[in-house]
């Protein structure tokens, strides 16, 4: 065993472990410049003002934006819960089909993800608008006139409506998040459930567990790692989005992402404040992920598409 490498080494052909590691050095250098330095810059900008002086004013002024923080966290939370409630049963149902059907069903979930998410969100604009497809449908089936008639009955001061307000609401933003990120919930959960050994389930059944108990005591705990990566994969983009809120609320529902975007590109150009908000958002992301990792201790489920 020891002879062989020596032979090759005599020809100068073998690299020491240290030399083989050197293949990673260019990339380590790259990471230092393009990953570490940028994040350090965020911290530097967050704690300085335009005159390059140290300050914590950027954070002190943050209380003005408590509403934006609260709204962002709340809407992202709601979207994550909805994704979980919709995604889990669907993932379970898909995992129970035969392999060929399963392949097709998974492909159909991934297909929309390859269409630019701006276009997918744009499609919802034409559905939710005041003169959009849904409102026209409600009008056609008489729902709007029904509501008007009932409203006039209930109170005399009722002003009739000609549409339901769907777009430019928090609900529309949550819908956009769910629509865009639902696959991120379904795919990791499905991939974990599929791997559960069918004998484990059979064993549970042989030991007298009914369907409900099998799910609660066997399938659910074993699929937890998928649920956890699903939750982080939905929550992180949802809490940081600015496109969905821009398109589906025309700026009426301001989120953290919008606030950051404004500080870097908009009229309210203030990268120092923007950096401070980014730093807090990063903190939220790290916090959320470490809480999630606590739940899913052990198994590392890096579900990368």
């Amino acid at each position: 065993m020891n002879e062989a490498p020596t032979l090759a080494r005599d020809r100068g052909g073998v690299l020491s472990r240290w030399q083989r590691q050197a293949f990673a050095w260019p990339y380590m250098f790259w990471m230092a410049i393009f990953v570490v330095v940028p994040i350090a810059l965020i911290a530097v900008y967050a704690f300085t003002n335009a005159q390059h002086q140290f300050t914590i004013d950027n954070f002190a002024g943050m209380t003005d934006y408590a509403g934006v923080f609260g709204r962002s966290l709340w809407l992202a939370f709601v979207a994550t819960v909805v994704c979980l409630l919709l995604g889990y049963p669907v993932a379970l149902a898909i995992s129970r089909t035969d392999p060929k059907t399963q392949r097709i069903l998974l492909m159909l979930i991934m297909l929309p993800m390859w269409i630019n998410f701006l276009l997918r969100t744009y499609a919802w604009m034409s559905i939710l608008e005041n003169t959009g497809l849904l409102n026209r449908l409600f009008n056609a089936i008489g729902l709007i006139s029904l509501v008007n008639r009932v409203g006039a009955h209930v109170s005399a001061g009722y002003t009739p409506i000609d549409h339901f307000q769907l777009i430019n609401t928090g609900g529309a933003v949550v819908l956009g998040m769910v629509y865009n990120y639902l696959p991120f919930m379904i795919l990791p959960i499905e991939s974990v459930i599929v791997k559960i050994d069918p004998f484990v389930i059979e064993a549970a059944q042989d030991l007298g567990a009914d369907g409900h108990t099998v799910f609660r005591k066997v399938i659910l705990p074993l699929s937890l790692s998928g649920v956890i990566s699903g939750i982080t994969m939905v929550f992180v983009p949802a809490v940081s989005t600015f496109v969905i809120s821009k398109l589906l609320s025309s700026g009426t529902v301001m989120l953290l992402g919008d606030l950051i975007e404004m500080q870097f590109t908009g009229a309210a150009y203030n990268p120092h404040l923007g950096a401070a908000i980014s730093l807090i958002m990063m903190f939220i992301v790290v916090l959320c992920m470490s809480i999630m990792n606590k739940f899913g201790e052990g198994e590392e489920q890096a579900v990368v598409m």
Binding site: G13, Q21, V35, R96, P112, A123, I260
Partner: protein, 275 residues
């Protein structure tokens, strides 16, 4: 296990309707002979014609393809060698480095975009350059490489570790070992990583938006500008074309995989027959 799950199946069907209804509506209205996004006024192809005549859309499409191809190829090369280097490191070095590698993957896009913008703007002020295609490409490479490493790493672990020594015993130099033994062995991982990197670049809006400056535009950025103006049915036409291309690619890949699978089965059967 084989119990019928009607509730789940019903929900799955509804979920697919939810997923595809907007896309189908988009496709239908891309052929609508009116600017309206909601009232049908007859069939036309004029939005497609206008799309191809639109210089801004065509040039941003070129930018997108150029940046995606370049970034994914560079990332595949750098990422593969980086993964080989990381693989040879001791765990107490590899682990923290992989954590740093994962930052762009797990971090919110907007933070990656904003932090790179801060870097490019500060460095540009010092060295006298502005945001443009170069910074856009650098940004894309830096969020693409992690995906290549994540898909190459597992393949390195799957390789038979004795292969390295065997190759060298048989007279390979380290350079030959890497190029003739390791790289072919991890090729599926490299190709997979390249494809993921390419789709990530193609699909990215947020990071490009912050790092491209005002002189270049990717297709996503053009689409964003168009959706803000809310008028043009050309958007529907682009979506339909993209959907058609993606669908076609998936069908081709699927058919190829199915054929390969069949061939393998056949081979196995003939081998069994021979034995």
């Amino acid at each position: 296990m084989k119990k019928k799950n009607t509730g789940g199946m019903l929900m799955t069907v509804l979920m697919y309707i939810f997923l595809y209804a907007p896309i189908i509506i988009m496709i239908v209205f891309s052929f609508n002979d009116s600017k309206s996004r909601t009232i049908w006024a007859g069939f036309t192809l004029r939005w497609y014609q206008e799309l191809f005549r639109d210089d801004l859309i065509m040039s941003s499409l070129q930018t997108t393809i150029a940046v995606s191809v370049l970034a994914s190829l560079i990332s595949a090369v750098v990422g593969t060698y980086a993964a080989i280097g990381l693989f040879n490191m001791k765990k107490n070095w590899r682990k923290p480095l992989l954590t740093v590698n994962n930052i762009p993957v797990v971090n919110a896009d907007i933070i990656t975009g904003v932090s790179l913008a801060l870097l490019f703007v500060s460095a540009g002020r010092l060295m006298g350059f502005e945001l443009g295609f170069g910074t856009l490409l650098l940004a894309h490479i830096s969020f693409d490489i992690p995906y290549v490493i994540l898909s190459v790493m597992p393949k390195l672990y799957q390789l038979d570790q004795n292969l390295f020594e065997a190759a060298q015993d048989l007279g390979c130099t380290w350079f030959q070992t890497i190029n003739k033994v390791i790289i072919p062995g991890i090729m599926p991982g490299i190709v997979n990583g390249l494809l993921i990197a390419f789709t990530m670049s193609l699909d990215d809006f947020v990071i490009s938006y912050f790092t491209a400056g005002s002189s270049v535009q990717t297709l996503s950025m053009t689409i964003y500008a168009m959706t803000r103006r809310r008028i043009s049915p050309k958007i529907n036409a682009i979506s339909t074309l993209i959907f058609a291309v993606v669908l076609l690619l998936l069908l081709v890949v699927n058919a190829r995989e199915a054929r390969q699978h069949k061939l393998e089965l056949k081979k196995e059967n003939t081998l069994k027959g021979a034995a």
